[in-house]
């Protein structure tokens, strides 16, 4: 009964939604023009990076907060089993991981640097580095993290990029408002923020996996 009602409601809703989308006249505001007009003052030449780190940089600051708090929530609530002893993993896989890691780091660095003028940036770079860490973990070269015993250095790396971003945002209050970059220094400041974010994002994204991954291989 519930099933039939939900499916019927979903059909009606989907129909209305598609009808509304297809019927829509063109929009009165066009932000592409505003973005293009202000690109010269943004400090970067890739429009998406300009929106992400400058025009709507405040969204990004809060978004890193979401990521960080989800990681803390995960540590607070996640499985509390002790990490298993390192499994002697497949030698072939370890060799592969060892060979793959340096180029992956190079790719991450490239993506970070490329973000200023073409697709790429801190998120993609951080995600690629996090993937490398997950790969190292799966091949047994990097052990899982224990949420209950987190060394100070690791905590600092996890929040470092966010704190750097926050400090730059607040320092720029002197110019009048939060995150108001002076156009001449905008490029440099954005690169600084993105470099910090890349390291922290890599740690946080990998942490989402490494804090949870407790029972790989171990017999129950």
């Amino acid at each position: 009964m519930k099933r039939a009602i939900v499916i019927a409601a979903a059909l009606v809703f989907g129909g209305l939604l598609i009808n509304a989308i297809v019927d829509l006249p063109s929009s009165p505001v066009n932000l592409r023009i505003a973005v293009a007009d202000n690109m010269a003052k943004s400090g970067v030449s890739h429009p998406v990076t300009a929106v992400l780190l400058n025009f709507r940089g405040y969204d990004t600051l809060l978004e890193i907060a979401v990521l960080l708090l989800a990681l803390i929530g995960l540590m607070a609530a996640g499985p509390m089993l002790p990490p298993p002893p390192n499994q002697p993993a497949d030698a072939m896989l370890q060799k592969l991981a060892r060979i793959a890691t340096p180029p992956v780091i190079v790719v991450g660095g490239y993506l970070l640097w490329a973000g200023a003028f073409r697709p790429g940036g801190a998120f993609q770079a951080g995600a690629v580095l996090a993937a490398a860490m997950v790969l190292l973990h799966l091949s047994g070269l990097l052990s899982a993290w224990n949420a209950q015993l987190l060394p100070l250095a690791r905590r600092v790396i996890l929040v470092g990029g966010f704190v750097l971003f926050l400090c730059v945002s607040v320092a720029l209050l002197a110019a009048g408002s939060l995150l108001q970059y002076p156009p001449e220094q905008a490029g440099l400041l954005i690169l600084l923020i993105e470099s910090g974010l890349t390291l922290s994002l890599a740690a946080i994204l990998a942490g989402l996996f490494l804090f949870l991954s407790r029972d790989n291989g171990g017999a129950p």
Partner: protein, 101 residues
Amino acid sequence: MSSELLFAVVGALIFTLGVAGTILVANLLRRILAFNLMGSGAFLVLVGLAQRGGESDPVPHAMVLTGIVVAVAATALALALLRKQHEVKDSEEELTEIDDG
């Protein structure tokens, strides 16, 4: 219909599927999948609809990047809670078994 509008319509369909799934599916891991479908559908509507004139628009691109990161944060939290729930269930069942014995 332009390709962009086509993707917006597909996004609407996927969102609807996701909502129905989140409500109807009992298994919690599946509900997490369904919730992710909702998000992807909304992202497709956002970009597809904004670009229905055929011109690329960087503002929704940045919003979707933000949205993808928020979605993975929510998914990881949900999975952590789900795994903890299983762990708690297991240990409590063991306890009752010990009590019974």
